[in-house]
């Protein structure tokens, strides 16, 4: 245990020294890795936010049904008897056109405009609650309702949420693809820096072998090098995402206010940050392992 620890700490400080001895190279590698990691990490952060927004604003499925403007009250009562016989409808609420007009008149700025109109432009309307709120059932019910006489327009209130949901799912898949590609890129970056390291440390590796170093002893500092470089790249990525969050928080907050969504941009979560850093370390380690397998055997 003690020997293990002193071996690890010696390898760790050697790796750190090798990183610091070429600060420009190290910085460039860290930046390249940081940017490569920041893309999927930032994307993930945005998606998590959008997902949360979609979940929070998803209303219970409601169907708005507007009658034709020229429909009379008789048409409305006919409809209600149809609603009563349709088991797919749980409840409904009638909104008379006069009510709508009165409500609209009260709202700021619209009063004058409506007064200027020759007649009531609003139709009678219903808000319906379907028994099965699942997207398929609601869609089917909406289609049925559209066929009813004197019905001008049927709108699924949650349609945009579901569209957003589908979009997010697509985005998530693309993000996964992007993350995979960039992960491979990250391994390639480490692979190459370790290759150069092995070449630079050739004399040291050779001498160490002659003095009785095991393969494990020789590999250890390179693993640390890869892992440390990965960690550095992960930290750079984290900083990039954090800065981007701070930069975007203002504009997104305003946007949220405009649409009265009460929405603020949440930064990368603790778990997200942990996953980011762990992935960065793991990828750096993997790149080092692959590179060592390739280049250490012939020294």
């Amino acid at each position: 245990m003690n020997i293990w620890f002193s071996h690890q700490s010696a390898a760790f400080s050697l790796a750190l020294r090798r990183l610091l001895v070429a600060p420009v190279n190290t910085l460039l590698s860290l930046l390249a890795m940081g940017i490569a990691l920041a893309l999927p990490a930032g994307g993930q952060m945005l998606f998590a936010n959008a997902q949360q927004l979609a979940n929070r604003s998803a209303p219970a499925a409601r169907i708005s049904l507007y009658l034709a403007v020229d429909a009379d009250r008789k048409a409305a009562t006919d409809l209600e008897s149809k609603f009563k016989n349709n088991p797919a409808i749980k409840s409904w609420q009638f909104m008379a056109r006069e009510e709508t007009l009165a409500r609209m008149k009260k709202s700021e700025g619209l009063g004058d405009v409506i007064d200027a109109l020759p007649k009531n432009p609003f139709p009678d309307a219903y808000t319906l609650v379907p028994r099965d709120e699942g997207p398929d059932a609601t869609e089917k019910l909406a289609a049925e309702l559209r066929k009813l006489p004197k019905v001008d327009h049927v709108q699924l209130d949650s349609a945009w949420v579901r569209r957003l949901d589908a979009l997010l799912r697509l985005g998530r898949t693309s993000l996964l693809l992007l993350a995979t590609l960039l992960g491979v890129g990250l391994i390639a970056i480490t692979f190459n820096t370790i290759r150069l390291q092995v070449l630079t440390q050739r004399a040291e590796i050779e001498v160490s072998r002659l003095l009785g170093a095991t393969d494990a002893f020789i590999r250890r500092p390179f693993y640390w090098f890869g892992a440390l470089q990965g960690l550095g790249g992960g930290l750079v990525a984290w900083c990039i995402v954090r800065l981007a969050t701070l930069g975007l928080a203002g504009p997104i907050g305003e946007l949220g206010q405009l649409y009265s969504l009460g929405f603020t941009l949440e930064p990368l979560s603790a778990v997200g940050s942990g996953v980011l850093l762990l992935a960065a370390v793991g990828l750096g380690w993997a790149g080092a392992a692959l590179s060592l397998r390739q280049y250490l055997k012939d020294i």
């Binding site: 002193s6 040291e204 002659l210």
Partner: protein, 217 residues
């Protein structure tokens, strides 16, 4: 301690550097290996340290057939011997102290104990004041002494040296030879390839002479 049993080394490419070499070295002996340049002196030392493997016959060190050692076992053999290489193989990006620390780090010594041993080895070769010096800042004789310090820091019972006094002026060469004589005096088996037999005369060493890879009787 060391036994060569009809050992032959043929390098890839067909050159036979050693052929049918047999001899024994007892513990505590000092042995000098002579012979013209290209006679096979370095190759002989490399077989002992398992840097090269014999293509025929056997080489035994402490009863172990080093030519047949598994790759994973070789490091442990090397930790038990000290080697002064013909080209020294110092690390030029590490100072004298760090060069001497390397074998101890490899063997997994705790840092404090290792530092103590490294200073003792540097003191033994008269380089304690130069421990912070980089190898380029050292003279030829000092570099040679540094490589000896690195070879003995593990306190091996077998010390191999490949032309340790070559390219040194006579006074410096005598100083360096004196270090080997000291180790011989305390019971270390010393095996030296050299042309400068005179420096080692006080130990009345045994002499092996190689000629085109063959051991002269």
């Amino acid at each position: 301690m060391i036994r060569f049993d009809h050992a032959t080394k043929r390098y890839p490419g067909g050159l036979t550097a050693l052929s049918d070499v047999s001899f024994d070295v007892a513990p505590g002996e000092m042995v000098l290996v002579g012979g013209h340049s290209g006679a096979g002196k370095s190759t002989l030392l490399k077989l002992i340290a398992a840097i090269e493997r014999p293509t025929g016959g056997a080489v035994l060190v402490n009863g172990q057939n080093v030519g047949a050692l598994k790759r994973a076992a070789i490091p442990y053999l090397r930790r038990n011997l000290g080697v002064v290489f013909q080209d020294q193989k110092l690390l030029f990006d590490r100072n004298a102290f760090e060069n001497v620390m390397l074998p101890l780090a490899i063997a997994g010594f705790p840092p404090r104990e290792a530092a103590k041993r490294a200073r003792a080895a540097l003191d033994k070769v008269g380089l304690l004041e130069r421990e912070k010096a980089m190898p380029v800042a050292l003279s030829g004789g000092e570099q040679q002494r540094l490589s000896i310090a690195r070879a003995v820091v593990n306190r091996p019972n077998l010390l191999l040296a490949d032309e340790p006094t070559a390219h040194l002026d006579p006074d410096t060469a005598r100083d360096v030879a004196e270090i080997f004589l000291d180790f011989h005096r305390v019971g270390v088996t010393v095996f030296i390839a050299t042309y400068d037999d005179a420096y080692f005369a006080p130990a009345a060493p045994r002499k092996l002479t190689l000629d085109h890879g063959r051991l002269l009787a």
